[in-house]
């Protein structure tokens, strides 16, 4: 429990080195990997989320915490895979074709990662074909796409249509983000949800998966 508190604090304060060390020590002392996640890491990230909600933390604190969590996970992940335990939900994310504005997308990706999801970032200017290929290959639960320009918004529809045509649309939830997008537009083009900001995006992913 003492060690678990050390890991908790390290993540809360965004200290990646300390988080890594604390995890190493805990594992060496025989801590169960799953237990470490449940007792220290998830509560730490929950606390980070609460501080962000309360406007006590800004994005930098959030991202640093995520980075600390990730450095702990680097040690834990191989153990989980070895023991056949299932990893968290997988999310594919990218900005749509023609749109190079990726700062919002990057924040969402980091925040999702910080919340314990496995995030596959396809980057910016991602073609419908690339989205389809990634869905087929990586079998994600969620596809997030964003557009910052109104003129690239139509590419969201094209991408959703391509997922349908490839027969993989029903396997995933599709979420949209970006300033010009509206929930009505999301509905019109057949997406499953929309968030107007990065913060909402994480909540949306959680609510769609009914992950507490």
């Amino acid at each position: 429990m003492a060690l678990s508190k050390e890991l908790f604090d390290a993540i809360l304060n965004g200290d990646a080195k300390r988080a890594h060390a604390a995890t190493e020590t805990a594992l060496a002392e025989g801590a169960e990997p799953m237990q470490l996640i449940a007792d220290s890491m998830v509560p730490a990230m929950d606390e980070v989320g609460k501080l962000f909600e309360a406007e006590e933390y800004f994005v930098p604190e959030l991202l640093l915490a995520g980075r600390a969590m990730k450095s702990a996970m680097e040690l834990i992940k191989p153990l989980l895979v070895a023991s056949g335990q299932k990893m968290a939900v997988r999310v594919i994310i990218g900005t749509v074709k023609g749109d190079l504005h990726d700062i919002g997308k990057n924040i969402v990706a980091s925040m999702l990662e910080g919340s314990g999801f496995e995030v596959i970032d396809l980057g910016a200017d991602v073609s419908p074909e690339a989205f389809v290929a990634a869905v087929k290959e990586r079998q994600p639960h969620i596809v997030c796409m964003s557009a910052l320009l109104t003129v690239t918004m139509p590419a969201m529809k094209t991408t959703i249509d391509a997922l349908s045509k490839a027969g993989v649309r029903t396997q995933v939830k599709v979420l949209l983000g970006g300033a010009p997008v509206t929930s009505q537009y999301a509905k019109e083009i057949g997406a499953d949800g929309y968030s107007e900001n990065a913060n909402g995006a994480v909540g949306l992913v959680k609510s769609l998966l009914a992950v507490a």
């Binding site: 006590e56 800004f58 190079l100 990726d102 109104t150 003129v151």
Partner: protein, 464 residues
């Protein structure tokens, strides 16, 4: 020591006293376009307009052109009907129009025809600003000086100049690949490196190129840049409570150094509307600037709605889509807004001391309600500008600008004019400390940051 590619032209201020920093007046007015002189006593509207949500492709191109045709005709109809004394239209190309340089040039020609007609028929002094998209960020790390995107961008600038642009501008993105990441992590080392080393190097190179294009097209002037991708990104993230306001305020001040590089390479203004760092540029160079504030509520919200107008020479709406409102289309509605704002400023300026009085009210109305407004007061502007010209490299200038901005905020807090939350105060202290700890020369910083940021940018693109 590393060879710096940048030219440092300015070592004194063109405007030394805060009270001489007024809207409508620049020490070096600019004559451009069709009978327009900017900065010679009056503020004019700069109207900026864009497409509604739609695909831009060969099939929809006629619709695209029709939109621009409609927007120009409605904007000018309103401008003439309200008797504006001058107007600038800004055409900000969308990425596909820069990818296909002939497309951007075609719209440029359409818009210029409208202006020429209005000038002929109604003697309306006017000019067309054309702003191709900086599309050089299409690969990671981006190539700035070579590759297809740069060739397209250069051709776009050339063809638009040929097609009738009166003023060339760009919102260039050199250094943004590092700045985005550093900003998100609140990492001041990366921010200073992006704004003080990478961005000025790209700006100097790029604006030398734009200067050559302008030289080859008589009558076309080299306008100015905007730190939009840096400081406005920070402003928007602060607006969404993602970043501290004080961070956005300090980034704003520091971003002026890179935007100044355009003027060091021969730009003559007006600097870009969304360059809220404009007043710093005006104080240093004496060149006219465009600004936007409450008038740009169609494009983004901001804590600097009135103060932004205090020192402008053009007053802009940033960008509005051709969507329908009850009155008509939104570009025409925002033209009316700009026209009345300018009318009020120009009327006040007719009275002795009137411009200063109205300017002071604009400033006072916003100044201490947000750190971002506090660094835009004429006093703050002169302090920051003076700090910039007192130092000798972009790297030192960025640190000096940041420190001056921090001092403005600390003074505001000490004098109990600026009220900051505990978190904002912590961040202000953190930034203050970070600015103290920088190595004396940029070479050392470059080495320090290699591990963290080295993979994000292409050294050759910055002459490094």
């Amino acid at each position: 020591m590393m060879i710096t590619e940048t030219v440092l032209k300015y070592s004194t201020l063109a405007i030394q006293r805060p009270d001489d920093l007024l809207y409508g007046v620049s020490p070096l007015p600019l004559a451009c376009g069709l009978g327009l002189t900017i900065g010679a006593g009056q503020v004019f509207p700069e109207v900026n307009f864009t497409l509604p949500a739609m695909n831009i492709e060969s099939g929809t191109w006629p619709v695209v052109v029709a939109h621009y045709d409609e927007m120009a005709s409605q904007i000018l109809r309103r401008a003439v009907s309200l008797g504006v004394h001058g107007i600038v239209l800004e055409f900000e190309l969308l990425p596909p129009m820069t990818d296909h340089p002939v497309w951007g040039a075609e719209i440029t020609a359409v818009l210029k025809r409208h202006l020429a007609t209005a000038h002929e028929k109604y003697h309306l002094p006017c000019a067309l600003r054309v702003t191709p998209t900086d599309i050089r960020d299409q690969q990671k790390p981006p190539l700035m000086r070579t590759g297809e995107p740069w060739r397209q961008l250069k051709q776009s600038l050339e063809l638009c100049a040929k097609a009738g642009a009166d003023i060339l501008s760009i919102e260039s993105i050199g250094g943004k690949e590092v700045h985005d990441q550093a900003l998100m992590y609140g990492d001041f080392s990366g921010i200073v490196f992006a704004l003080g080393v990478l961005a000025p190097r790209d700006m100097s190179w790029l604006w030398a190129q734009i200067g050559q294009i302008c030289a080859a097209h008589p009558g076309v002037v080299s306008g100015g840049d905007s730190a939009c991708g840096f400081a406005n990104t920070a402003m928007q993230l602060a607006h969404q409570k993602m970043l501290p306001e004080v961070l956005a305020a300090v980034v704003r001040a520091m971003s002026a150094v890179r935007s100044l590089s355009a003027f060091e390479q021969g730009a003559v203004g007006p600097s870009k509307d969304c360059a809220y760092e404009g007043p710093i540029l005006k104080a240093i160079t004496g060149r006219p600037i465009a600004m936007e504030g409450k008038s740009a509520s169609c494009a983004h919200f901001s804590p600097v709605g009135n103060i932004a107008a205090a020192m402008c020479d053009l007053w802009s709406n940033e960008s509005v889509q051709n969507v329908r409102l009850l009155s008509g289309n939104a570009p025409e509605a925002y033209t009316e807004l700009l026209a009345y704002d300018c009318r009020l400023m120009n009327t006040a300026a007719c009275a002795p001391g009137g411009a200063l009085q109205l300017r002071n009210w604009m400033v006072a109305s916003d100044e201490w309600l947000s750190p971002q407004a506090a660094v835009l007061s004429p006093d703050a502007i002169i302090r920051i500008a003076a700090a910039i010209v007192a130092t000798d490299t972009p790297y030192h200038r960025v640190i000096a600008a940041g420190q001056a901005a921090v001092q403005v905020l600390k003074d505001g807090v000490a004098e109990q004019k600026l009220h900051l939350s505990r978190k904002e105060l912590q961040w202000l202290a953190r930034i203050d400390e970070a600015l103290e700890r920088f190595p004396a020369e940029e070479d050392a910083l470059l080495v320090d940051l290699e591990a963290q940021y080295g993979s994000l940018y292409d050294k050759a693109s910055y002459g490094l």
